[in-house]
Amino acid sequence: MPSTKQTRTMGAFATRGSESPKRREPSHTGHLIAVISPGVIWIVVFLVLPSAYLMTIAFMTNGTYGLPRMPLTLEAFKELAGFGFLGWSPGNLYTLIRSIWQTVLSTGLVIAMAYPVAYYITRAPARMRPLMLLTVVVPSWTNQVIRAIGWMNILSPGSPVSNFAASMGLISPQMGLFPSKFAVVVGLVYNFLPFMVLPLYAVFEKLDYAQIDAARDLRAGPIRTFIHAVLPQTLPGLLAGTVLVSIPAFGMYVIPELLGGGKSMMLGNLVARQFAAASNWPLGAAGALIMIIATLLGLLVLRRLGKKLGGDSQVVL
């Protein structure tokens, strides 16, 4: 939209008085380049180039010791879809589907838990709020490996929680709740909860309570009040939180590796395994490429949604 951009620029310059915008342009461009180039060059050289290289590897052929070589083929993608020497097997596809399912499930649980928490913090006295937010965020500042160890301890066979689950008949007595898919989902929810609470808190803080009162006056029940008066207002925060939770959860490596055991592998573990022990770089890269595509698609869809709703869905950090 060139017209709106132009008016905005004009507006910015208009406040500067009589100075012509054209005359200042050249020095500005030099200044712009000087200021942003170190960051841009660093990101391009050490993030964009390696990612581009990884994408190339995905189309290369698996050589000896797993190192990729020419020619470019689609072998890795066929292998990812399950076609190998011994015919077709669904193992990799299961991993992919499991990644999607565990991501959706844990994102849903995170949303369900973060809503009341964010709302509760907004209703607290103003001077308590920073402390309460910090209380929610601080555990996520500890290393994710350490947090996973905490859950390994809690859910391990013989622990009080596992014994309780066994006495309820949920698991057989000698088994623990860890390693399992359940442990992975708990780990994911635990890991990503703060990333949903913060953006939701940001929108709750600006909540227009008049709309809620209006809904109540119109005799809407709690559920309808929520759907019609609260949800639309909090949607930008919800979208931002969903980006921050679901995308990293989809590519999660540490939690499934530590809490999951062999049958709860996610895409991240599949990718890492192909690179570790130098087994098959192209296959791993193909998996990583799928992650990149999923990330970009997810971002585009959520951005589109955010724009449609008209909210300025700035991600809060």
């Binding site: 905005r8 500067r16 200044h31 712009l32 200021v35 942003i36 170190p38 960051g39 841009v40 660093w42 990101i43 391009v44 050490f46 993030l47 390696p50 990612s51 290289y53 990884l54 590897i57 928490v117 709302y119 509760y120 001077r127 920073p130 402390l131 910090l134 209380t135 929610v136 601080v138 555990p139 500890t142 290393n143 994710q144 490996v145 350490i146 160890i149 905490g150 390994m152 301890n153 809690i154 391990s156 013989g158 622990s159 635990y190 990293p248 590519g251 999660m252 490596y253 540490v254 990718v271 890492a272 690179f275 791993g284 890269a285 990583a288 992650m291 990149i292 990330t295 991600v315 950090l317």
Partner: protein, 271 residues
């Protein structure tokens, strides 16, 4: 009124949530004082795992590596990121959509994609030229590249919060570029730069995946050491280091909170 029941439920949920958030950390801390080697039975208080910790050369070396990595990468990332954030703010009216994407992407991209792409990139360069051998150097590069976007966004958001009239005032007072940077922008941004540095530092200390893939045999950091120890099944000592690291995080959080309340009190006093 059903409202009070709702509020009570909300409060109960908050306490359940606190339990959920802190139980895993509390368990790690508890078992670090366990006198026997078990993560299911607590047999009595003992400091033996802490004693084992401080006589372990590998752990001390890993601790040293973690600190070197975090400090070096945070300094570089703060300088580069502050410039980038300032540039993003100053030229925000230009068509810089690509820049915003470039800065946002590293934040949302799964870290395993970065760890692995950098690992394969550095390995291939190192095979071809002998440069960029995996080690502390490649780890610093990798850390800076994921810290820069966070620093840039933090600085950017602080600048957006400023009154744009201040910039105009500088201009009206005929400050040249350097004077403006030295007497206005840097002092104004100082708190943001300090918090950006600490954010970068925490990100570095907290990172496992990217470090894991870009590290060499000599550059083990604490999280990598912990990882390999639990993979081998050694837990009590690990609980002890983990507890110390949790303690460090809580100490840092307490300091941050104290600063926040002091600033709040000051701003209220000046009102």
């Amino acid at each position: 009124m059903s409202g009070s029941g709702f509020n009570r439920g909300l409060q109960a949920f908050w306490y359940v949530m606190l339990f959920f958030l802190y139980a895993p950390l509390a368990v790690v801390a508890l078992y670090s004082f366990n006198s026997i080697n078990s993560s299911a039975v607590f047999a009595g208080v003992s400091l033996r795992w802490y004693a084992a910790l401080f006589s372990n050369e590998t752990i001390l070396h890993a601790f040293y590596n973690s600190l070197t990595l975090a400090i070096t990468s945070s300094i570089i990332a703060t300088v580069i990121g502050t410039l980038l954030g300032y540039g993003m703010y100053t030229y925000r009216h230009r068509r810089l959509g690509w820049l915003v994407w470039l800065v946002y992407l590293p934040i949302v991209m799964p870290d395993i994609v970065y760890g692995i792409s950098q690992m394969s990139f550095f390995t291939s360069i190192s095979n071809a030229t002998g440069l960029f051998n995996l080690g502390l150097g490649t780890m610093v590069i990798a850390h800076v590249s994921f810290q820069v976007p966070f620093v840039a966004l933090l600085i950017y958001s602080r600048l957006v919060g400023l009154d744009s009239m201040l910039f105009e005032a500088c201009h009206d007072l005929y400050a040249n570029g350097w004077q403006r940077a030295w007497y206005f922008i840097l002092p104004t941004l100082r708190p943001a730069i300090v918090s950006a540095f600490f954010l970068a530092f925490t990100l570095s200390i907290d990172d496992f995946v990217i470090s894991f893939f870009t590290s060499g045999p000599e550059s083990t950091t604490l999280p990598i050491f912990i990882w390999s120890a639990i993979k081998k099944g050694v837990t009590p000592e690990v609980n002890a280091i983990a507890t110390l690291m949790i303690g460090a995080v809580f100490g840092a959080a307490a300091i941050a909170l104290a600063f926040q309340y002091v600033r709040l009190a000051r701003s209220q006093a000046s009102d």
